[in-house]
Every structure is written in C-alpha cells, then in structure tokens.
Symmetry: C2
Subunit: 465 residues, 2 copies
C-alpha cells in the first residue's frame, strides 16, 4: 500500500479535482466534537459518479483508504480520515437532479444539504422532513441513518429513502431499490447501505420520499415541575396515538444553556417544545388532546408559535442546542452522545443519566426527540483535561449500559463512528459475526472508511471458517 | 453430502419432532399456485430456537438443504424444498411470547399467524395491521417482506418489525434490532433478513410494532366506467395525502370472479374497495375528501359498510380473490403475479397488462393494493397445457418488463422465490454482485433455502476476486 503513489495516480486522473493543500487537509480533519483533528492525505472533489468510480478503482489498486465527506456535521467522527488516505468531498455533487411531485419523490446527489433541498422544493408544496438540526448533506444523513426532531411523525432516513446509487469497494456501480413504494424483490441493499457509515459502499445518488407540506402548522412550548412529569406526558401522548410532528424534551440544564446562548428568558425547568401538523381542524384536535394530557402532568406556561417567524425562531433555538450546551462550559468542547430506549423506559433512562452526570461532576444537558425514546446528553469537556475526559467516557459508557439494560440501543441517531465501537459487542453480541462477514465480503481490502463502526478484532469472518 | 445420513442424525436428536411419513412429505410439497409438488425428504417440527440451532448445525455438517415452512401461503414457491432436504415447519413455535402495550410492540414466535396474533391482542386495544389476505405466519411474512391491503396506511413487514432473532447457516444465533423505535448502531441486519426468503438465516423470533385500533372504521365501495378512471382516482387520492387505510382496485374480470365465487351481485365494472380509519370526525373528513375526488372521475354506486359484520363480509370477499380468479377458469390453477410501479404510472401498467392478457388469449383478473402502485394479475392456467403455460410465462415476463420500464419492480409483495428469478438480472444488474457476495459470506455451503431468489450463476463472488 502506498498512499503517496495513489495520490499521484489520482492527480493524473482528476487534475484540480484533487487537492493536497494544507488548508484543505486541515479543514477536512476538523470535527464538531471532541475528536482530535485528523487531516487526510488528500481531498478529492468528484463531480460525477464516474469520478467516484475512478477514485475508488485507483484507491483499490493501491489499498488506499477512502473516507466520504459531506457537511462534516457528524457527531461520532464518521467523516474523519483516521487511517489517512483520501477524503472524498461531495461539495461539487450537490444538485437536485429530478423532482417527481406526481410520485412524491426526488432524485438528488449526495452533497445536497437538507436546507438547499427544501429551498429547491419550495414551489412544489412538498418537503423532505428529516431534520437532524445541522444542515447536513443527504449522503451523510443516509450513511449515518440520521433522524432528528420530525422522525416521530415522518420517520428517519431509514423510512425516507426509496433507492440509492452506490460505488462498491471494487468500483462496481450498483443501483438499489426503485421509485416503487414497496418491493419484495431480493436482498434489501438500500437498508444495508443506510447507516453503514461509508464502510460498505459510497452513496452517489439518492431517491427520497417527499411529503405534502401540512396545511396548518402550530408550534408550542410548555414547562413541567419535574423531568419525570415531562417525560411521562410524552409517554402518554405517544401511547394515545396523537400524531405529533415534533415533541422535544429540554431539561433544566439545557434551558439554562438556551438562556445563556439565545437569551431565551425561560424559567429553568424542564420544557417540551412541540409541533402539530395537519388540516387546521386536525391541528386543533391534536393540540387540545395534547393539552389535556399535559394538564394531567401539571404543565404550565403554555405558549404557542403560530406564525412561521415565531416557529422558526423556536426551532432555531432548539437546533442550537449543541452550541448552547457549549455556552454552559465556558469555552469547552461538547462531547455529545445519544441513546434510544423503548418509550416506557424513557423517564428512568433520563433520570439515571442526570444522576450519573451529577455523580461524575460533569456539566450535562439533556435534550431529545423523546417521542421516539431518543435523547442526547451534551457534556462540557476540555480535551486537554484527561480526568474530565475519563469521566465523560465513564458517563457515556454508563449511559450505553443503561440503554441496553432497558432494552434500547447505544445510538438512536448519531451512529457508531469512532466513539461507540467499544459498545458494539455489548449491543450486538453474535450479530457482529455476520456484520464482519458482510464487511469482509464487500470490502475485502478494507479501504472504505476503515476503522469506523466495527470494533477491531482478530476473529475470522464466517465465510472463511 | 448425504441427506439420508443427516435425517438419521436428526432423528436421534429430535425424536418425534422429525417425520418422514408420506402424508407429511406430500403436504409439505404442496403450494397454492402452479408449481409442481415437490416433497422434502423429511419434515422437522422444532419447538424452540435450540431445536432450530440443532437442526441447522446437523444440516451444515451434512450439507443438507433446509427450507423454512410457515403457513405455506407463499405465492412464488418460497416454502418448497426444491433441492430436497429438510422442511422446517414452525407449526409448534406459534406462541405470542410477550405483549408490551406500553411500548406498542409484541414478541412472537415465527409460527403464529396474523389472525391468531390479532385474536390474542384483542383485549389490548392494539392490532398488528399487515394483512396479506391469507392467514400467513409471521415468520413467513417477514421472510417474504409481505404487505397487503393495509400497507398504504401502516406500511409493510419492512416497516413493522423492530427486532429479530435468527439462526445463521452455521448455527450461530443472532439478535438484530431492539425495542427502541430507531437506531443508528451498525449494519441493518433486521432489514437484510426481512425479505431474504430464508436464504440468509432462519427467523426464530420477531418483535413487531403494534398500532392502536382506530376509534372509527368505515369501509365503502364504488365503481367506475373505466379502469383508467378508477386508477386516476386512486392516484389523485394519494397525491392529495388522504391517509387511506385500504384502497383496492378490482377490474371487471375480478368482479366477475366475485360474482361467480361469492355471488356478489356487482355490476361487472372496475370497482374500488376502500377503508377509512381514525376518529369519527377524521373518518368523515377522509370519506368526504375521497368522495369529492371520486366524483370527478365519475364514480357511481357508492355503498358503505359501517358495521363490523358488513366490513368483514366485504374484506372476506376481497381476500378470496385467489379462489374467485380460479372460479373464472373452471377448475384451472391460478398463476398469480404482482408488480409495483410509481403511482403516476399505475394506469399505464394496469391498462398494458389487461391488453397483454387479451392478446395472449389468457383469462386474467386484476386486483391490487393500488394506493402503493402495487397490483396483481391472476391468470387461469392448466399446468398440463404447455402452450397456455408458455403464454402465462410470456404474460408475466411482459408485465415485469413493463414494471421495470416504468421505474417499478418485478414484485411488490409476492417475492422472488422460484418464479421471478429470471427477472433479477434485469431488475438489479450489478446489484446482484453484492447480493451473491452476501449469500456466499453468510451461507458458504448454500444450505439455506437453496435455489431460491438468486438466479443460478457461474460468477465469482466479490470477496473471492
């Protein structure tokens, strides 16, 4: 393996679509969280599937690692070229190729971001609902099985991708799925690639489901005396089948962060941020039904945001949770982590994680897409303080154990990347064997985002036994 | 490989849980459609996952084929032991293990049928919505990615399975997924197993999503002068986002079948059979909105079925489509086939298939879950008439080509099994390469339902290149 020889070969093939400038390398080594900067050896900017194919073939020849790169908003280091090699940046493959309003779908390149896509769709009355907060790229969102605030109503990337084009580790271009809404037609490669974090194939095109813009949208907030009241309100709401479009929990620490970062002026108590979608009558029905439940759990300070402006302000504040958490730590980095549990276990999981943070002397915010049983803890850490980093690791580890004990998962939406690998064995047990067998079968040279997702092992894959 | 030695070994291990009686073998070689009877060499009746593990390990040792067997209602021969060996009948693994109403899920063994499950759930106010018509087993429905009349509202098996337990080809027991509603935590083995037709692993337990029984349910029927009017009414309904619970098309030939088989007394014109779920107000809203659209397309003869009894009678008639199609052919077998296309192409696909049937001199009914773009053709055939069988094959082939030309798939819900293998290359192209690599990696001895889904090939899998 010679990365240098590979880059030379790629320069001859790609010309100025590959860069080794210090600025490019530095930029592509950065991340939003606590991982050390890890610049790649070169950054490629493909403009077509053929470019990606060329790059992959050349890298395969030289056994050179390739790490796909979208908007760099991933939270577990998925986009970092930790084994060196090529950062494959989809900056120049960012077009909406086709919109089919009559079939409620569109075809996009992986580099298009969710905001750009929804801007493009504006005149159609349709929208793409998956909203992880960050203005992430569609390729990255697919590769990490992203979700976010609206998943409780519209599903995650898992439910909103009809078809993919991808380049496999030997340069083979495949198309999975179709524009048909359902199929029983062979192995579900679409879902195998969704969430595979670029380790099985590189996504070069996506066919996405679109949804009609709701006729009416209303957002609202309310607060509770206690985080358990707030969570139990959510549990009852979901169990009653109220089709919430958004239902977000913010604990008192998160609210404190918003007060500091956004001057929110909210009482420092647990809040729910809500959104209702539907016909005007349906929205009113949902709001009433929710309000009745909320009242049972002692909700106070009910405020609504009916105008687009007010709603946008509310969700902009929510989407700044990462930076608001940082504001509590006075210039510290954020160690973000997330788990997902069955909804009936949510109160226990949230309470346990709050207690763990206090015990470990950590500043932590809790914010979550609680309608799905999914929540985030944002820890303020100083990467240069080994003791604090050790305690943060302990917190994350305990949180993962709590989630597994309660029948949940170690990541609802951030993915595995670098940080959660050590919990894969506890979560999956024997199921790691076929995962490794699939990786070995599809990427025998281990060039696709090596070092991500699957923990290191000396085990022999199934096929070779 | 010695199947006889394998059966001897299994007899020693399983006692009376394995049978080679002529009656058992004959029964397990039968199917609902036109495939020749193909009895297995033995039938095993496991009572636990450990039994399945024992069987798989012993079969692996002897390279003896294993074909999972549920309710034998599959329509592409998936349950037929066409390579001989063991038919693995889940008759005695048919329990609902746990119901978690608070988390809207339940855990079941693969042999439980959908009717038995819903009977069991009756007191909870919840139900499992996927309804392929036949009283299929949950294991079989998962393995064939089944769907049916309610998928337009509630999704298919793909959307309604949270977690699986499965036995792999070497006897390894794995658990995939969890009771959490979402996850970004490794390769999506759950979706890889769903629809894999028993060729990658044998499902031994399922965690299923449940849904609240709607407060109000109303069914209705109406008829149209022309199949295109009916289909265009469906297209508009879906595009308008009316959340139909069921929207089924029956062409004039299918109605004729119902008149003969169920004495339905319906005008022999294209009909839609509909169902609306929700609060009483929501159902009324949906019904009104649909009626307005239907009127635009000239709908007549509007009839509603508000009582449970009337609704059940309506859907019992619909679910007998297979036998009603047979009634048109005077004792002939039914060659059922299905495709799925993007909704905007539905009218073209239905019209084309009707014309093709007439051209080929075949008696064909069209019935479909048209809200998803999915429809079935039921051909009356005499398996002893080679010319008619050739024409039926031609019809199916042409229908698959039409579906692919229109951006759809060669099977919406029946699966690939034996009958659709010849269309896999046209549908998937290069994507067959990773499918074959995955099969080779997970079942290197090819003992799991051999001869199904993947067409025969001499190609070398990716990992060995």
């Amino acid at each position: 393996m010679s990365i240098a020889a590979c880059i030379d070969a790629l320069k001859a093939q790609l010309g100025d679509r590959i860069s080794t400038s210090a600025a490019d390398l530095t930029l592509h080594g950065q991340n939003e969280t606590y991982y050390p900067n890890t610049p790649p050896d070169a950054v490629a900017y493909p403009t077509s599937t053929e470019d990606v194919q060329t790059i992959v073939r050349t890298c395969a020849e030289h056994a050179c690692p390739i790490t796909p790169y979208g908007a760099a908003s991933s939270l577990e280091g998925q986009h970092l070229a930790t084994s060196g090699g090529i950062s494959l940046d989809f900056r120049d493959m960012n077009r909406v190729l086709k919109v089919h309003p009559e079939d409620l779908n569109c075809v996009v390149q992986p580099g298009v971001t969710r905001k750009a896509l929804n801007e493009d769709l504006r005149s159609t009355g349709l929208f793409f609902p998956v909203d992880p907060g960050a203005d992430a790229s569609m390729g990255g969102m697919a590769a990490t099985r992203a979700s976010g605030t609206t998943a409780v109503r519209y599903g995650t990337m898992r439910e909103n991708i009809l078809a993919l084009e991808a380049v496999l580790a030997d340069g083979t271009v495949i198309r999975t799925g179709s524009a048909a809404r359902k199929a029983s037609n062979g192995y579900d490669l679409t879902h195998l690639l969704i969430g595979s974090e670029g380790t099985l194939g590189i996504i070069t095109e996506l066919t996405l489901k679109l949804h009609g813009l709701p006729e009416a949208i209303t957002a609202a907030t309310c607060r509770f005396a206690d985080v358990e009241d707030a969570v139990n309100c959510v549990i009852t709401t979901i169990q009653c089948g109220i089709p919430m479009a958004r239902i977000e929990l913010l604990d008192h620490m998160m609210v404190r962060g918003f007060n500091r970062y956004s001057d929110a002026g909210l009482p420092e108590l647990p809040h729910l941020f809500l959104e209702f979608h539907g016909s005007p009558a349906a929205v009113e029905d949902q709001r009433k039904a929710f309000a009745e439940i909320a009242q049972e759990f002692g909700a106070e300070g009910w405020q609504t945001a009916d105008t687009t402006e007010d709603r946008n302000a509310l969700w902009a504040m929510r989407h700044n949770a990462h930076y608001a958490s940082a504001a509590l730590g006075k210039g510290k980095h954020i160690w973000p982590t997330d788990v997902c549990v069955p909804i009936s276990k949510l109160a226990e999981a949230v309470r346990q994680s709050q207690e763990d943070a206090v015990k470990l002397g950590l500043t932590a915010t809790i914010v979550g897409h609680v309608g799905d049983g999914n929540f985030h803890a944002g820890l303020s850490v100083d990467p240069n303080d080994p003791d604090e980093m050790r305690r943060a690791e302990q917190f994350t580890s305990d949180l993962c154990k709590t989630a597994l004990r309660l029948g949940g998962t170690v990541s609802g939406e951030h993915g595995i990347g670098l940080g959660k690998q050590r919990h894969m064995e506890a979560e999956h047990g024997n199921a790691l064997i076929p995962m490794r067998a699939i990786k070995a079968a599809l990427d025998p040279k281990n060039i696709l985002n090596p070092g991500k997702m699957l923990p290191p092992t000396n085990e022999v894959p199934l096929a070779a036994q």
